[in-house]
Amino acid sequence: MQDFRPKIIAFYCSNCASSAAKIANKMNLYLPEEVKLINVPCTGRIEILHLLKAFENGADGVCVFGCQEDSCQYINGILKLKKRVEHVKKMLEEMGIEPDRIEVFSLYAGKGQDFVDIAKEMVNKINQLGPIF
């Protein structure tokens, strides 16, 4: 358990979250190595299957960075995703897996610091939960 280094898959959208990531980069703020990024055009494109596949293929945690609920370029992508994440949380619970292993965050485009801080918090949380299997 002491050697545990969590694997975290972070989906992020091409709009607000992507801007936040770029700003973080310009501020020389970097994500923890445990977090692997997957870019999607909009978080509304992320299906339940994508989230499950991350766990099936070895992720200890999954997080999604998207837009504020009122500023999705595709109107309601982040709202759709939030419902799907809630559904996956229930599924994980039924499987005996902590639902906190998956989270979704609405970012402001200019908040690069938030992007990195939230990712670090997620790493800490998954570290406390330990390996998924």
Binding site: L49, E94, M95, G96
Partner: protein, 222 residues
Amino acid sequence: MIIAEAKPISEILEMVKDFSKILVVGCKGCVTVCNVGGAKEVAILASSIRIGMRKKGKEVEVGEITLERQCDPEYIEELRDIIKDYDAVVSIACGVGPQFIAERYPDIMVFPGVNTKFMGGAIEHGVWAERCAGCGQCVIHYYGTMCPIARCSKSLMNGPCGGSNHGKCEVSPEIDCIWDKIVRKMMAQGRLEELLKIRPPKSWLTARDGGPRKMVREELAK
């Protein structure tokens, strides 16, 4: 279409816990349209079984296939070369599918992966409502083309009852009183008098009261 809902994954994991090779079988018919048993849902359930079983400390092989339909034997036959590699099947078609598979392949355990709910349609995306009770003798044209059997909580043929309240049913404010709708539509169409017509009692012999049903069409049957 036939409307179904997914069983909780915990229930399915309990069903298949003693098996190591599990085949999840979907159907491209009704359950694909109501987003519960098509190719996408097959992939979701298969992934859930792999994750859930691994969490229980057991690695399982989970196969995925989606048939054109599970309510026609020729499509069930497509499983013949595949099914022998598995020791359990989870069908996510309506209740017909797992029974057809079990009848065709009597040596394998077949489990239902969904709860079949009713015959109905989508009233908006993600919301389905019951429209037909399959009584075997359709009379909806007497009632403004609305079925009082499927859509009245009491299946009244001569409503509304005293529980009708501002267009809603006493059973739940979520349920429309179909008799309120029937009367209003008949009034709007100038056909209210038709509701006063004395009709013979409905025969339920064509419904479930006549036992399990079977239909033979001589011009089609061999």
